[in-house]
């Protein structure tokens, strides 16, 4: 299966990257930008074929390594692959 983990900064946590991108887009002439936030995705190609099992493995990966629960939230999407 293929899992895609979306990791974003928690609401309220400063996102220096997003802030700087917003400013750069502004100076490139793009107007009407309220906010920019940057996140990351981790795509994992797993040998596991059972969706429930894959989900629980990836959730464990997130808890252990991929996301930092202090400042980040994450969401897992699964796809046949």
């Amino acid at each position: 299966m293929k899992a895609r983990v979306h990791i974003t900064l928690k609401r309220g946590v400063l996102d220096p990257q997003g802030k700087t991108i917003a400013r750069a887009l502004g100076s490139l002439g793009f107007a009407g930008i309220n906010e920019v936030r940057q996140g990351k995705t981790v795509e994992i190609d797993l040998a596991e074929t059972d969706a429930a099992a894959a989900h629980s493995t990836v959730a464990a990966m997130c808890a252990k390594l991929l996301a930092n629960p202090v400042i980040e939230d994450y969401r897992i999407d699964l796809a046949e692959g």
Partner: protein, 229 residues
């Protein structure tokens, strides 16, 4: 030789390279703030090292699209040489002055240390005071120095003699062990097709006087002085 150093928000080797230029040429370079509309009429434009815009998004990307870079590109089209060091190299690739891209180091860590480089050619205004094949020691300090380009580009660089420096061992061999960041073909620095742009990850301005513990970078500035007066 009149030089200018373009200062982006987050540049932090602008002073260091200005000092090296002054020591080599006897003249202070003009410091150009990124919001200035144009680069002044000079013999050399320097894009210095540092973390322009914090290296956020992709290192060099935001600086490459800042207004002053249009003027830098125009000046280079008209023949003004550009020396792009470290973050400057990243800016130059993002701006299309040089081919390829500098990706995060293969080991995912910032690395600061002396490396040995093989000078690939002395046939340029940047390297005339070196000899081809010479092994020099110059520091690197970067997180994104992993040079990447497609095979056609890499072949073209090699075929046209546009690789300026390669990471090598003490005997001049570009070995895997001597590669500090995963750069393809151990590439540490490249020229543009007309050799008016040099982009390199190592910091020659940090090996320019005895107090630095090495002076192998000095010849680069001396080469420029010889070519540009």
């Amino acid at each position: 030789m009149r030089a200018c150093v373009v200062v982006f928000p987050g540049s932090n080797c602008d002073r260091d390279v200005a000092v090296a230029l002054r020591q080599a040429t006897g003249a202070d370079p003009v410091m150009v703030w990124h919001r200035d509309a144009d680069v002044p009429a000079v013999d050399l434009i320097v894009l210095p090292g540092g973390f322009s815009y914090g290296d956020y998004l992709r290192s060099g990307a935001m600086a490459a699209h800042s207004p002053i870079m249009r003027s830098v590109i125009d000046a280079n089209r008209r023949g003004t040489p550009v020396l792009a060091i470290c973050n400057g190299f990243q800016v130059a690739t993002e701006a299309g002055l040089l081919p390829g891209v500098l990706m995060p180091n293969a080991h995912q860590k910032f690395v600061c240390r002396d490396v040995t480089l093989r000078v690939e050619t002395s046939q340029s205004i940047f390297t005339s005071r070196y000899t081809a094949g010479q092994v020099v020691r110059i520091p690197i300090a970067h997180h994104d120095g992993n040079y990447h380009a497609d095979a056609a580009t890499l072949n073209a660089l090699d075929d046209q003699g546009l690789v300026a420096f390669r990471y090598c061992d003490a005997d001049g061999r570009p070995s895997l062990d001597a590669n500090p960041n995963g750069a393809q073909r151990n590439i540490a620095g490249i020229f543009s097709r007309d050799r008016t742009v040099l982009g390199l990850m190592p910091h020659p301005e940090r090996a320019a006087e005895p107090a630095h513990g090495g002076t192998d970078g000095r010849a680069l500035f001396d080469s420029l002085l010889a070519a540009l007066g």
